[in-house]
């Protein structure tokens, strides 16, 4: 059995708005083993970022964690004091976001920003901190680190800014890096560089990564294990090969079928009808039922539980689960 670094159990994070309650994260359980890259994939609004923010204690009013545990190395982060939480957030877990510009301070030189991150969490002097910044800049592939140290964020390209963000996330040698759509704003050649960097960092430092993306290509290239989210819930999970080779949930199957293959031109794309439902007006039964081609009567009235298919593969659906053997 792999050793788990992060374990989330039955997490519920809801938004309490005047119009009603939005169950952004609804009974999510997931695990990130040590040294592995675990992906969360799903479409806009399905709760990927809110899951990440729950871990980082970054949920903003009117959102909050309603129940559940977030265990890091067995310690429940939801039960820590504010001060301990801050420490964990800076040192053991760090996060990089989709748009590095909004998470960097525009009027402070990037080198200084990364140096401050070190000084806040570690007892070292300024000279040592600067030396470490330059070292980590080199580690994340920032060319001419001394020169970049003196740059303001707007003087850097999108790819370099994302490298600075990764450097900032790396300086305290976290056990877990949460990357929320880290390459969505980048060009494809730069995306490939950043993905390779994240993978190399995990391999060389033993760090784990929770990688959030709506791009199935990114997930397939990067992850060991994958969770598919739909409307606040995990609808399927499994190791990356099982999930791509034998998807069982109709939503996962639909997503995979709509991928465009580069080696042949198709006349039409396979689609999933309809669109992602509003979390405040979910169907009574399965959240996917009004888009699902295989929906049965029970799907419209009852909520399906996660069905364990064995070997770490599970799906949330009323369709029969036994037939896995037919693939063997």
């Amino acid at each position: 059995m792999e050793e788990k670094l992060l374990e989330i159990n039955h997490l519920k994070s809801y938004f309490f708005t005047r119009k009603g309650v939005s169950p952004a994260v609804d009974d999510v359980s997931l695990a990130v083993p040590k040294g592995k890259i675990v992906g969360i994939v799903g479409e806009s609004g399905c709760g990927k970022s809110m899951t990440a923010k729950s871990i980082m204690d970054l949920l903003k009013y009117p959102g909050r964690i309603v129940e559940g545990e977030i265990l890091l190395d067995g310690k429940d982060l939801t039960k820590l004091s504010a001060r301990e939480r801050r420490r964990v957030r800076g040192e053991d877990v760090s996060m990089i976001f989709q748009e590095p510009m909004t998470s960097l301070n525009p009027v402070v030189k990037v080198g200084k920003q990364v140096r401050e991150a070190i000084l806040t969490h570690q007892k070292v002097d300024r000279a040592e901190a600067k030396r470490r910044v330059l070292e980590v800049f080199r580690q994340v592939g920032i060319s001419e680190p001394e020169k970049r140290y003196e740059c303001y964020p707007h003087e850097l390209s999108g790819g370099l800014r994302q490298r600075v963000m990764i450097a900032m996330a790396m300086v305290c040698r976290p056990k877990l890096m949460i990357a929320d759509e880290p390459t969505t704003a980048l060009d494809v050649t730069i995306e490939a560089q950043i993905l390779k960097l994240i993978k190399t960092l995990c391999e060389t430092t033993g760090m784990s990564c929770l990688l959030i993306s709506h791009n199935l290509g990114v997930i397939a290239q990067m992850c060991d294990y994958v969770y598919v989210m739909y409307a606040g819930k995990i609808v399927e999970q499994g190791d990356v090969f099982t999930l791509f080779d034998h998807p069982r949930h109709p939503y996962t199957q639909g997503l995979l079928a709509s991928i465009i293959h580069l080696d042949e031109q198709r006349e039409r794309l396979s689609t999933i009808p309809g669109m992602v439902p509003n979390l405040m007006h979910l169907p009574e039964g399965c959240a996917f039922c009004n888009r699902c081609g295989q929906a049965m009567d029970c799907c419209r009235t009852k909520k399906p539980e996660l069905y364990d298919l064995g070997g770490g593969h599970a799906f949330r659906c009323f369709l029969p689960g036994e037939s896995e053997a037919s693939h063997a």
């Binding site: 479409e43 390209s157 050649t189 990067m222 709509s258 991928i259 580069l262 689609t271 999933i272 669109m275």
Partner: protein
């Protein structure tokens, strides 16, 4: 027998520069010549800032060219006075990336789709306008009962459908689609792509399809034009280029696409190093030479011209 292809839009040595200050300018489109054939879908691909949108806009005179000529059929539209160009205007429409920003939030769906019909006075009466709007809503799959709704009451995919209805309202010949599905969710993206293909067939449209997403382009286009920093690297049939890209930049671009197949990930990828150079001070010689691992002295000094290689046009000294 080979079918004779008719040119719908053509540009010659088209240049568009945006002045930065007295001395410097952004070289967004630098000496581009190409043809768009009737009924085809030509895709413009390339990374952010390479000049795709600027080229699209300059072609339909939304930007005044710095130099060069644009012909619609045989008429030189780049030389026309606004009054003369007006009759060509409605032949060329545009669909934008951001379905949120491109529709006026204070207008109903009816008025949004009707606007071009009213501006160009193509319908006899108000009733005729509404009838045409309903027809267009059917064509793009927006339910008729939403006629008097406002844009904020729609999802991104539906807004994009409304944008498409508006663009085809005047039966244009050419539609420039500028990243029309980039803001959409995966499952909605494929719906809208199918719709764009249907609409193209049903209305006999020619598309200039701008996208940085090579998968989307693979599906929709007949021909591709790969751009780098204001220049064409490679242009030709999609089938030919996707099967066997020739220009080093095209190869890197294709190679960088994250393939949704975990079995293909252990293959060592050769990645493009470095960042995209500034269009204010583009590299001399081949504009790609600062990132190209094969660059020679000649590449640094002399600009490669487009020439025929393996059934497509390529601008590279080494192929």
């Amino acid at each position: 027998m080979r079918e004779e292809k008719k040119v719908l839009l053509r540009c010659e040595h088209l240049v568009k520069e945006f002045p930065v200050d007295r001395k410097r300018a952004v070289h967004a489109v630098s000496d581009i010549s190409l043809e768009i054939y009737e009924g085809e879908c030509l895709a413009l691909v390339g990374e952010s800032g390479c000049g795709k949108s600027t080229l699209g806009r300059t072609l339909i005179q939304l930007h005044e060219p710095t130099s060069g000529k644009v012909f619609f059929r045989d008429a030189e539209i780049s030389a026309m006075k606004p009054a003369q160009f007006a009759q060509y205007r409605r032949q060329m429409q545009m669909i934008f990336q951001d379905p949120y920003a491109s529709l006026d939030p204070r207008m109903t769906v009816r008025d949004i789709i009707a606007e071009p019909l009213v501006t160009h006075k193509v319908c006899e009466s108000k009733e005729a306008v509404t009838a045409r709007v309903l027809e267009l809503m059917d064509a793009v799959g927006v339910p008729r009962e939403f006629l008097y709704r406002y844009p904020h009451q729609f999802s991104g995919g539906q807004r994009q459908r409304i944008g498409i209805a508006r663009a085809v309202a005047l039966n244009p010949s050419l539609v420039i689609c500028d990243e029309p599905v980039s803001a959409l969710d995966v499952s909605v993206q494929s719906q809208v792509l199918n719709l764009l293909k249907d609409i193209q067939a049903n209305y006999g449209l020619t598309y200039l399809f701008i996208s940085h997403d090579l998968s989307v382009v693979r599906f929709i286009s007949n021909r591709v034009c790969v751009m780098f920093l204001g220049k064409i690297c490679e242009i030709g049939d999609s089938e030919t280029i996707y099967r066997d890209p020739v220009h080093p930049y095209t190869k890197f671009l294709m190679n960088a696409i994250p393939i949704a197949n975990p079995h293909l990930r252990e293959q060592e990828k050769t990645l493009l190093e470095g960042e995209i150079p500034s269009p204010i001070d583009p590299p001399k010689g081949c504009r790609f030479h600062t990132r190209c691992p094969y660059a020679t002295d000649r590449c640094r000094a002399e600009e490669p011209a487009l020439r025929e290689v393996k059934g497509r046009q390529v601008a590279c000294h080494l192929v």
